[in-house]
Symmetry: C2
Subunit: 648 residues, 2 copies
Amino acid sequence: MMLRSFLHLGRLGGLRASQTIKNSISLQVTHRNNQYLLYSTSKSQNVYLVYEENDYENKVDNVNKFTNRTYTCGELRSENIGENVNLCGWLEYQRMNKFIVLRDSYGETQLILKNDDDKSQKLLSEIPLESIIQIQGTVLSRPKDMFNKKQVTGEVEVRVENLKVLNKARDTLPFNIREFQKAKESLRMQYRYLDLRFPQMQRNLRVRSEMLMKMREFLVNNHFVDVETPTLFKATPGGAQEFVVPTKFPGQFYSLVQSPQQFKQMLMAGALDRYFQIARCYRDEGSRPDRQPEFTQLDIELSFTDLEGVLKMIEELLCYSWPTFHSPLPNKFSRMCFKDAMENYGTDQPDVRFEYKLQNCTDIIKLNESIVNKTKDFGAYYLQFPKEYANLSKSVKDSMSQLAKKYPNVKLIQNKISNPKDWSSKVTKLLSDKVANRFIEECKLKEDSILFMAYGDKKEVLGLLGKVRLEYVNFLENLGVTIRKKGYHFLWVVDFPLFEIDDDGNLGSPHHPFTSPHPDDVHLLETNPLKVRALSYDLVLNGNEVGGGSIRIHDPLLQETLLKMLKIDKTSLQHILDMLASGCPPHGGIALGLDRLLSFVLSTTSIRDVIAFPKTFEGRDPVSGAPSTLSEKDQKLYHIQSLNVDKS
Amino acid sequence: MMLRSFLHLGRLGGLRASQTIKNSISLQVTHRNNQYLLYSTSKSQNVYLVYEENDYENKVDNVNKFTNRTYTCGELRSENIGENVNLCGWLEYQRMNKFIVLRDSYGETQLILKNDDDKSQKLLSEIPLESIIQIQGTVLSRPKDMFNKKQVTGEVEVRVENLKVLNKARDTLPFNIREFQKAKESLRMQYRYLDLRFPQMQRNLRVRSEMLMKMREFLVNNHFVDVETPTLFKATPGGAQEFVVPTKFPGQFYSLVQSPQQFKQMLMAGALDRYFQIARCYRDEGSRPDRQPEFTQLDIELSFTDLEGVLKMIEELLCYSWPTFHSPLPNKFSRMCFKDAMENYGTDQPDVRFEYKLQNCTDIIKLNESIVNKTKDFGAYYLQFPKEYANLSKSVKDSMSQLAKKYPNVKLIQNKISNPKDWSSKVTKLLSDKVANRFIEECKLKEDSILFMAYGDKKEVLGLLGKVRLEYVNFLENLGVTIRKKGYHFLWVVDFPLFEIDDDGNLGSPHHPFTSPHPDDVHLLETNPLKVRALSYDLVLNGNEVGGGSIRIHDPLLQETLLKMLKIDKTSLQHILDMLASGCPPHGGIALGLDRLLSFVLSTTSIRDVIAFPKTFEGRDPVSGAPSTLSEKDQKLYHIQSLNVDKS
């Protein structure tokens, strides 16, 4: 028992003692002066680890501690033969009211009732599967030819001496707990407590818990302080749509925070120095697939740091907390600047697991003056896939054309190139022979390749081809062709623009208004704000953003200038301006979206599969049916009245 | 460097390796096959610990890692003399534009500018205190007679070679960061980022973070799974007032959870087996001192357990996570049943740090029939404090009389007893001579003692005398008399009644409707429900409830019966009934109120001092002023209209 405890503790501390010990030949444990010493005599170094006894009575960690069982259903081995044990769990399967498979969160154990145990056999005959039973019995060896290699407990069975029904299940449940009969998602969500019994959901939640604990460990080891910040707060100007909470003050509402941004900056001004929090955040984004109204982020901020400091910190954190069932991550993640990401991948979340980048052919295509004339910021790009990846079926073509409809200022050309020389004849309506031939030559159009070319508004061209690039590869991979490199590829995207132009021609913040401009570009703030880069960074995993952050503005005057440029009423953020003027250190931070990150780590199809009780894509709680109506009395209490309610 | 890292990791794993190593005489570190081996050759057992090198580059934990400084302001010692260092922090103090005290979260360091460094001296003359500066310089020894023993860095100073102003503070701040000039609480709250710079607040938040991490460690070591549950949920029938959140569905609202109770029970039905969460909870309790609209609890639930299992788990958890700056807690906490707590202390949160329990004198006083006739459930109790604690000033008497006004069905007698024999003459209007004399004799009224006696409605008598007991001792202790035992005294209160009677004569739940009745009392459910005990438990620390929980009902029929008895509409909890009928193991759990617990651990006067950004007692956020008005547009978005708004 001590040994087991010690191994676990060792692993927790990052010591990976188990591996060391596995390699040694003999192990001994001695107990001396409150210390357990575990050692091997087979290596040049004798003693491997010391475990100090704690003050409390029984320091052995044990999955059965504080319970009425002696073992879990995943624990018995041939070493336990002859032991008298007490097991609890779900009735997974039974045959002839005599053979039982008992299941719990940790595994399955085979039980066998005695031939003359009429009482237990009768009990068993009266309860449906999934009922909860407790048994006391003796561990026996199974006959060698009955060993079940697929079960970790497959060498033993337990002869039942006493069977107790702890809780009878209903005769029929909404669905069975059988992997091969998986119910559809809406049903799984409504009866989430049944769905959670499946090994996959068990694993998802357990891996999530472990990975979050490793993250905490890393941060605590590096002197970060876990601080809880409020969720009932004031509306953030210019942010996403926030949920509101009416109060007993007439007409006054809290907003549920969309991130702890303002609080973490105040903690820096408050000399907390190094902060983290696994924080619940809220965003009312309506019906959007794979978004949740409440979600979890790992939120980090530190003082006296810079962009390099934050990036290094996250690289180390992810290396440290990365699950051991995946290959280790590299020490350093690649980086790409926003401009290159857009130019080569048509997105700020590039999937770098495969080549086939967008190629610029603007200089050639713009020789066709009639095309260019119509467009303010003209661009022409193409993508070429070689012979071995050439498969341009009608359905692919159609779905690409469908994509292109969302980009009204772009012309998309998609061709299978049988003979490059013939290509110009296919596009006579669009390009002059001269231009088409020059393209064939300069862009090295190859035999039997697939060409996607688009021209028009540059931004739209890049956006469309970025999507075409992914869709085409998805299509090929669905056919069984492997194009993407395996594994997890993290990428930093940096040098984002500080501003963007919104539909009304106003300046907006792609990140948030507290993001620091790049010091080399501050002089451009007045003259050419769209050229100003931000000290911000996004973390992209396999083509998906999983985190982002920035170095913040610490100068109150610069912050005021930015708010003015963004047309944000400064009175709503006076507390932030005061805070920056009170002696605020330079600081920066980041937030990782944990639901999404875990969904990748666990290769689930939706983030809902890494959340214990997710809402539907409409934002409803499928278990309780929330949201629901509010009584007139409660409405009055909060000085509100519901409008537009369908009374039918 | 390796050594340091390893020690820290060891500590995290609960190994307390540092202590072991301190006791050994010589230490060596070798590096072999990716493993660092740390060993002492002075003991019979040679090697103490092995530390396996991780994949990532630099595994040394360091408070300066990821920053631009080389040391914190609390780190330099005489060993560092001669080093070139880089420090950042707040300008705490300066004299003659030459001597500086630099402060950060970790301490203070004295800096000295060179006589000819006109540039830095000018910079310094232009910035107010609390500005942020960064210096680069050389560590020097202070002259021996200038050692500052009060400062951990008091043997050294840093000669500045380069000074940079990172962020200038405003000339005058709302208050100074000086311990002796502490501002009043409302100002401290409004400018929380200034208040957080005080060492006391720094310590409070850091100890909170550490203690919560130790709790997590204990639970993870014991195979509990950290599961995040939703906060946007459905209203709980029959619970406390909950905040509501309007949605884009007209007339439909979420409620913010007051605890994860329903979710954790569903996790047990979902075979999670052992769950915990440090959970944000919400309760709209209006203006109540020392309550917060959002608060944090450590929430735990496990399957196949019983009352003994849960209590033992919490005892071990608190022993494990108890701060080392306090004396260790005992292995086992005392227990008291609810009945005894009420009878002896007049409260279910007894302060057992001092004797002077309530004494029952009902049998004597009820001989005075005229008194008894008026009262349905008559009781008479008294408290006697001996000579050495006798101090019944007019102001004490007045405040006790004030207390008594809240108990209309009680008569309170308070006397200083000069001569016991004379006492009967003092109460002639109330008690017959015979009864008074019998009381003097049987209750052993002592010379020069203080007597508080109360009779009338038994429940009120106990309530009042329970309060008198505490108030009187508080009064004495404020005068400097020590009555309470020092330290932290945890107490379990068990055997609560399952039901209480509310003002309308209906049955209510003192805990919640999912609490299991005591199995020995189930037969009384129909015949005498008020006699039924609950399998619930409260954890009381020094006379204050800091946690509570219960074994839950797992039988769906019993749950349905309970809901009926409590007149709770079962349709609102149909998902819970379905869950119990789906194969739900017996389970139980507990929640600890972390804000309150930390407030005791850190001896703060209010829970606000252990919360980074607390709300005022009215529920306002003092930093941002939230809650605030909501635009008409946003009101329309959520299909609500504000009522009773003062338009002035």
